[in-house]
């Protein structure tokens, strides 16, 4: 429901022309227009009805990207690949064009001679201008760009994801990192966010294999079954598959995937995780997990899972959830990391439980706290 007196909230997406951003923008418009139910959006379920979150219709989208393909065209590509329903990009052309008008060129691009500080200042100015232009109550910056390689140790430069995070702080915006990239996860940036009174959450959205692991691993613990080996293979096309074919990028991703097992099981079982680039799968991904475990008297047993999902369709509603929750946390005066949002992340902020059920309970408690905040 839109409150006519409600001031609008900005959602500034890093990677604003990517699959996830395009799906989030299209989907927000589709749900607002009543064309589709809000399937996959946790913040549209009853427990969040009174948490005073910004309404979907109050969200205004903009962001940074380094590619030029306009959002309406990107949405048509996604519809052709079965990610978006046919006809939806046409029906929502006006909303997509409006969001595309709010996308600014990110960076640093090859050959860019600007220093880190110059880039941060430029990015922050883009965000600030966006907020002013639309008279927004506030904006949330959400990183949904392709995974960047793990930063080289000792590099004098900040990774791009951290430049954007610094810009968010400079612009006075809450920040959410939906990718495994560094983003705000540096001591200096975390201090700066806290000093600026800004909340932030991350990192690495939990949309498939790790989501499953966060419900299955606790089951083994609760039943006192001994996990011997947990192996996994992910097949994904789209941009993410190509990005993660870079071993350095995959390493960042896998660290998050393995964390849930170590945190839950108390030990890291045998087994590897592979991420394969399979362009033929387009935006669809398949994750196979093989779990060898011991039962009573050492009996050997096996659980296998196969998850076949559309990456963007899994991520987009969570991006909208996070933008709303972070904006409301900002409004409510919360600052620093938000481990209460661990439900959404592979590699959550410190202090969060590892089991999905516990993370969900923490999220519900957080909704209650937002309800009672000013």
């Amino acid at each position: 429901m839109t409150n006519t007196d409600e001031r609008r909230t900005g959602v500034w997406l890093i990677g604003a022309r990517g699959s996830v951003a395009t799906t989030a923008i299209t989907g927000c418009a589709a749900v607002t227009a009543g064309l589709h139910p809000a399937t996959g959006m946790v913040t549209e379920t009853p427990p969040f009805a009174t948490a005073a979150l910004p309404s979907l219709s109050s969200l205004v989208f903009g962001g940074h990207d380094t590619t030029a393909c306009p959002l309406p065209k990107r949405a048509e590509h996604l519809a052709a690949g079965g990610v978006l329903p046919h006809g939806l990009p046409t029906a929502l052309r006006a909303e997509l064009t409006a969001a595309d008008d709010e996308i600014r060129t990110g960076g640093p691009l090859p050959g860019d001679t600007r220093t880190d500080d110059e880039l941060i200042t430029a990015f922050a100015a883009d965000i600030t201008a966006f907020v002013r232009r639309h008279d927004l109550a506030r904006a949330v910056v959400v990183n949904v760009a392709s995974t960047e390689p793990a930063p080289a140790p000792g590099s004098a430069r900040l990774p791009a994801s951290s430049l954007y995070a610094a810009a968010a702080i400079e612009a006075g915006s809450a920040y959410v990192n939906f990718t495994p990239s560094t983003g705000l996860r540096t001591a200096a940036l975390e201090d700066a966010a806290r000093a600026a009174g800004l909340p932030h959450a991350g990192r690495d959205g939990k949309t498939g294999q790790t989501l499953l692991r966060s419900v299955l691993a606790p089951m083994f613990v609760q039943r006192a079954l001994t996990v011997r080996a947990w192996s996994g293979t992910n097949l994904l096309g789209g941009g993410d598959g190509a990005a993660l074919a870079d071993p350095a990028a995959a390493a960042a991703k896998n660290a998050g995937k393995e964390r849930v097992l170590a945190d839950t099981l108390g030990t890291t079982p045998e087994g590897e995780v592979h991420i394969d680039d399979v362009p033929a799968l387009g935006d669809w991904k398949t994750a196979w997990d093989h779990i060898a475990f011991d039962g009573f008297l050492g009996t050997r047993m096996v659980l296998q899972t196969t998850w076949q999902g559309c990456d963007s369709a899994l991520a987009a509603p969570l991006v909208l959830d996070l933008a709303r929750l972070a904006a409301r946390a900002h409004e409510a005066g919360l600052s620093g990391p938000l481990p209460q949002l661990a439900f959404y992340f592979k590699d959550p902020d410190p202090g969060a439980p590892a089991a999905l059920a516990d993370q969900y309970a923490a999220l519900l408690a957080f909704a209650g706290r937002l309800r009672n905040a000013r």
Copy 2:
């Protein structure tokens, strides 16, 4: 750890020469002797250390069965099939023989002319004599017999499982129903148990497909994903496969399997559950589940799971858990149904939550309550 002053507790198994009973008796002896860790026994994990449960070494086994194959021989069969470790039946021959000596003939056998009351009295006398013979503090009756067909409506006779449940009450014993058979689930028997001040718990142990469903279904709900269809096939050999090839018996079993979905999802999705008798699998079972669900904007996705486990090895540690918990509940003066033990059952007593995480939390709270009881 055995407390030398501890009075012993009887575990009276209905179906005492079946695979589950044989594995439970063998395994209890193996863990007591330090030959194997207590993998799969929840009551041996830290949260239960102070719940004053009877120690494993204090358990004395007996029971009813209608077959004659002695336990040591049954255990050898299980070892040949890979259910029990090789050598274990030989190492524990004395314990198995001792338990076998405490097995009495059950019924009614074909041609048996005794009335229901006569059978109940005879069974109760067997239990009472067992308690006296070993000077037990108390005994718990646990039904691990083959699933019986759903009782014909309007039958004047009680199903066999209920005769044993009535005998448990008459003998002053707590009662646990690990099968989908009727057992104590009649208004008259529930009243009788309460009047006698006896606790009871049931029914239908949750060891594979339904265990998985009780962690996966909440995930879909918490993530606001719409389950369209949930289909499943179970392949099992052993006695249970043959028993459940009887459509009437399978119907009883499937009712429990479907309950977790209805209770969790709030609706019954499309899809069927099959239970196939595949003798070649022996005591091993394979459960395949196929879950079709909708994500954001109606995108269709699929999760498949394959669970390959040994039925007896999954059930036996839970049977030991339940016997200890029910005995301690009896000692602590609790009576009536124990929905706090829903963690163990497909079709738990009324008032229990459906999600495994919530059931585990309830079980931990129950352990705390036992700790503080006299």
Copy 3:
């Protein structure tokens, strides 16, 4: 390539407005128009280039159906469900409308008082008129209607599928049965076909689980591995799922599925086959197979397969293949059953090999024979 002098060939589809027929008609037009490659059409591969088959552009479609939804609308439904590419029904509207104009009402409908002979005569007249109207060289009748229940023994009436088969004979047309229904599989009709000099082929198109079984079962035999149990579950939506939820219809289907195992393995292994109606899957089907086999020294091993396909897209190119091959066989003067087409069927005509590789070799040999025929 169309031969401009080529006389056209009729394809008369029983169930002409169903998913398979609609996909076949749409696809033939799309391939002819160069909009799509001929993926899935075996007769468009090099070994068939010189077999003098009627060209795709020479095929004219018509048929019987008992539903009224016109083909262009049916095709739109299939495109919405992802079976046909978006835009294709619109692009081929003229071809679909032309085919729809050639569809006549089948039967018997409820309340129809016509005798079997009257129905056969009426159906044959429809086919004959179609051939004359388009000055066709010949027509092939192909049954792609929903599976009918196995006929009650001793029934005085012919099943509908046999009425159509009799009409094909009366109209002088070759006949192909792509379904498990009876069709021409009666002694009287087989005699009549032979007497009329007409070729026929059947039955029950092999498009998924049985296709896989026909390559996997020979592997076990060739490697001297002992199959202990072969279990399978099929999930399918669409009309076929509903039709096969009728146990009598499923029984007909399963007989074909089991035949390949018995014929290849020389024995029927343990295990069942389930066909579940899951409307949420639409035209998509999933088949899970679990094969328990013994290796050297009795070691137990397992192979599992999961096949996720679109039923109509799997069947349609085979229907076009069969229509072309049967038409050419008719032209070449062949009559009686065509076990050489066993490659396409679950339950082929007598004398056919059971392994797919052998069936493929037989098909190639048949192509060579057609090449050399007049």
Copy 4:
């Protein structure tokens, strides 16, 4: 059946104390003694009954190894892991001890200062002495050692597997390479084998994933379905898992795995193959394959397979087959590579077909040729 006049045949195993060799030696004795059927041995099926192969009872085992664990003890380990039936190592202790007495120390061991020629001479002397000691008609050398890393280009030394192959030639023995190591696959050694009139066959036994691929890939081709991506993950424990965790060794193995797809499909589809070392699986391996393919009108479909087998139990009967076939080929005067044995190999000798059905036909033809040889 043993022919009492039959001269015995030697089977000289490189890696004679490994899992595969131990299983082959134990299994040969067990089948000879009538303790087990010859499941998995193709040469014991009817088409080979008249090929004049050496009988199983006529085989004498020996070989090289660099480990000291005697065969009876190794067999006990395998029985504990479920690879060999319990009790079998004890029952066949005499046969295992006899074979162990014929095992000589291989090499080069670390610190070994012998030149390649010295090593070849020493190995050949071991084989020659074995043949003389037992008055054997001939011996076949079979490489079943752990996969060695791909040789460094330009190395002056021969890889160990080639030293043994050269020794086989020097000793006048046929040679079979069941591993992906180089073995006889060098121009110089192939020339030498031909000059010596010796047959040889290789390489890399086809026991799981590649076996499946060799039956599934032809299915897609025959059905004109377009394979877009073929991805695979192998989980294996045992020594092989550890050896293949070395990327250089895995590269050798994967080359063979991918060859079957390229040879059959005529193109290499997208997708990778992973080999993970999972010690918890022991001698058991699990291979998951995911095949994305296009059907009619570009419809996207997926086949997945999961193969769970015991590596040694799959390999051992094929090793016995190959030893018998190579010995008989030697006796029959054949020399050079034997592409007729492609049925057994991932990376067969040049000129072999890629589809399993064609390879089986070639094997049967070869059996016929052996039948008619002197």
